[in-house]
């Protein structure tokens, strides 16, 4: 499908039409911060923002998710009745998602949905029913380093369509069938508009001021990196909280619990994170990652070595910069990766 054009003052009609088929969400100003919210008025949709405060991963992987409910029924022949939770009822559309977040979900697809045995229905159901319409970054902030992480301000991976903000109009580029369904009916873009979008992308790429090197990380063996002396300092001031992993679009660890009350209960999965000592604590009392250093190392090794090794060079980080801004002790992932790469 050719690139399309949409006048910004027609956005209300455009989103209104989509709302007949989808629940539409977009970054809006909530309590002073850019955050995801259902679209009610199209003029509340943000255009000038760096990225949402926390990542949109909870659209697919909620922090708390009920997997099933169960009930112990005495006179039932099976004794126990288990009920699956209903799948997502409506199709969803995330409008103006940043390319880095969409890239993160493509990486997570490789982890949640691998083969018959590893096929996370909860993740897949929501992914299948959601359309991602991205917004190219025209003004990347100083903490972003997406171009070092297989991504970029106008990266299309994981997106169904990509929108370029050209001031009073939007260039809409459909990338998949889902994206074509969204762009359907819009007018074709003029060549000048396409050129403006290219121009904007180049300027944005040039504006990305921070980069990290991965060449030596890729060359070095797992063990060489694991045993590197740098880990002796990186962890020093880490609080082992969960902030960096919970705000991260690519962290995906969870803990499953059965909660019971009387004869019935539910199975819930909650976000979990490798920074917590409890994460790998065995029932025997042994903890393979018993010290803070082990846990801090895990976070970075997982993202920048284990995932690349296991997933054909994909990286468990998209350079969104959220952890850089929100870690309470400024453990800056860019600095750590540069140390790994030194």
């Amino acid at each position: 499908m050719a690139d399309k054009i949409l006048a910004k003052d027609k956005l209300g009609d455009f989103l209104g039409k989509l709302q007949a088929d989808y629940e539409v969400y977009a970054p809006q100003e909530v309590e002073g911060k850019p955050q995801w919210a259902p679209v009610e008025e199209s003029d509340k949709v943000l255009w000038d923002f760096s990225n949402t405060h926390t990542s949109p991963k909870d659209f697919f992987f909620p922090q708390t998710e009920i997997m099933m409910r169960f009930k112990n029924v005495q006179d039932h022949e099976n004794g126990m009745v288990m009920e699956a939770e209903p799948p997502l009822a409506n199709k969803r559309l995330l409008f103006n998602i940043r390319p880095c977040d969409a890239k993160a979900f493509q990486v997570l697809d490789l982890i949640f949905v691998q083969d018959e045995m590893t096929n996370d229905l909860f993740w897949k159901d929501k992914r299948d029913k959601t359309t991602l319409v991205g917004l190219a970054c025209s003004d990347p902030c100083p903490s972003c380093f997406c171009t070092s992480m297989n991504c970029g301000p106008a990266s299309t991976t994981g997106l169904d369509a990509l929108v370029f903000d050209l001031g009073d109009k939007l260039l809409v580029r459909a990338l998949t069938e889902k994206g074509e369904a969204v762009a359907e009916g819009l007018d074709d873009a003029a060549e000048a508009d396409q050129a403006a979008a290219e121009e904007q992308t180049k300027a944005a790429e040039a504006q990305i001021s921070s980069s990290v090197g991965m060449d030596k990380v890729n060359e070095r063996s797992v063990m060489e990196l694991y045993e590197a002396g740098m880990w002796d300092r990186v962890y020093e001031n880490c609080l082992n909280c969960g902030t960096c992993t919970y705000v991260c679009p690519t962290c995906h660890c969870f803990d499953i619990q059965d909660e019971t009350q009387g004869e019935s209960g539910r199975r819930v999965r909650n976000w979990d994170n490798c920074m917590s000592w409890l994460f790998t604590m065995h029932g025997t009392g042994h903890n393979p990652r018993g010290a803070k250093k082990d846990r801090v190392r895990q976070r970075f090794m997982h993202k920048f070595k284990y995932i690349p090794v296991k997933r054909d060079g994909e990286i468990g980080c998209v350079g969104c910069g959220r952890c850089v801004l929100l870690c309470p002790v400024n453990i800056d992932v860019r600095r750590v990766v540069n140390d790994m790469n030194a």
């Binding site: 100003e29 943000l46 609080l239 082992n240 010290a291 309470p328 453990i331 600095r335």
Partner: protein
């Protein structure tokens, strides 16, 4: 401020080169605006990285604990009023020994709340913030503005009652006034005005966006329990979900565990990625303790913490 930083660097280098301490815990300049970070200097050269600014929003006393014994030997630590009070608390709770810490005392300049600065520029990216006398100079792509620091301090710094360290081995600057003139009891006042139902609503409203990352707990020098009640599995005191009951249980129990111990350092609030005013939960409890026992935590090495003593003449019937 720069003079204090310089004095910290010099003193740290001296202590390290003379072998008086193995490590100096202070701050170094962060990689993002308004986020200087806890830094461990082991050599006189590393001591040159130390800094001191209104962006030092952690509580360094936290790093005296939560580490395997013997991991670092004798340490020097940079401490303003609240941090020194936390050190007193840790000594009284037998977590550290007075002789193992060498306290580099600093009068607190009052720390800046980075969220208050950000709120002046909604949705804009701040690229640089520098200190110029009493002002901050805030820069972004298409703006530059001066903000008086006194307009954007952390809440706890306005109501601080002890800016100067209570115990010191060496002062890094001249003592200033002991408070900022704020009224510490005012922090609890909003709760007192509310009916129980409204109070609950206000509380739930505050914790509503909590993501249970526990940065507030992990940044706090009071929260040194080897196994926190939220991590306890047998029995599991607190559910792990985002349900209101579980989130509320975490915050209520944590606040109670801080009773009579919180020095109002604000590290919890500064650490929270969601901007939750965690300190407000302890404020009413601390006010009660001040009124009932005439006690403020960490002010005096000799004072007895009211909640850890038994008195045969306790006026309350239920305790006998």
């Amino acid at each position: 401020m720069e003079a204090v930083a310089q004095k910290i660097r010099e003193t740290a280098a001296k202590l390290l080169s003379e072998g008086k301490v193995d490590c100096v815990i202070g701050y170094a300049q962060g990689t993002v605006p308004m986020r200087d970070y806890p830094y461990f200097a082991y050599t006189p050269e590393e001591a040159q990285n130390l800094t001191w600014s209104p962006f030092c929003c952690n509580n360094l006393a936290n790093f005296l604990i939560r580490r395997p014994k013997g991991e670092i030997g004798k340490v020097a630590i940079v401490a303003q009023g609240c941090v020194s009070r936390s050190i007193v608390g840790l000594i009284k709770e037998n977590q550290i020994a007075r002789e193992d810490v060498y306290i580099l005392g600093v009068p607190s300049p009052g720390m800046v709340d980075r969220r208050k600065v950000q709120d002046r520029f909604p949705l804009k990216t701040i690229t640089e913030v520098t200190v110029d006398g009493e002002d901050l100079v805030v820069k972004g792509k298409d703006f530059e503005e001066r903000i008086p620091q006194k307009e954007v301090r952390r809440d706890n710094c306005y109501t601080c009652v002890q800016r100067n360290p209570v115990i010191v081995d060496e002062m890094m600057g001249e003592e200033g006034p002991s408070d900022w003139g704020g009224n510490i009891d005012a922090v609890a006042a909003p709760w007192e005005k509310l009916e129980p139902g409204e109070r609950w609503e206000a509380f739930i409203d505050e914790v509503d966006s909590c993501i249970r990352c526990y940065a507030c707990r992990d940044a706090c020098p009071l929260c040194y329990c080897h196994v926190c009640f939220v991590d306890e599995a047998m029995p599991q005191w607190c559910g792990k979900t985002q349900d209101e009951a579980d989130v509320a249980t975490f915050h209520i129990l944590r606040a109670f565990h801080c009773a009579g111990r919180c020095t109002d350092c604000g590290a919890c609030e500064s650490a929270c990625p969601q901007g939750i005013k965690v300190r407000r939960f302890t404020s009413k409890i601390e006010k009660d303790i001040r009124e009932l026992y005439d006690y403020s935590p960490g002010m005096d090495l000799e004072a007895t913490p009211p909640l850890s003593v038994y008195r045969p003449n306790d006026p309350q019937e239920f305790i006998k």
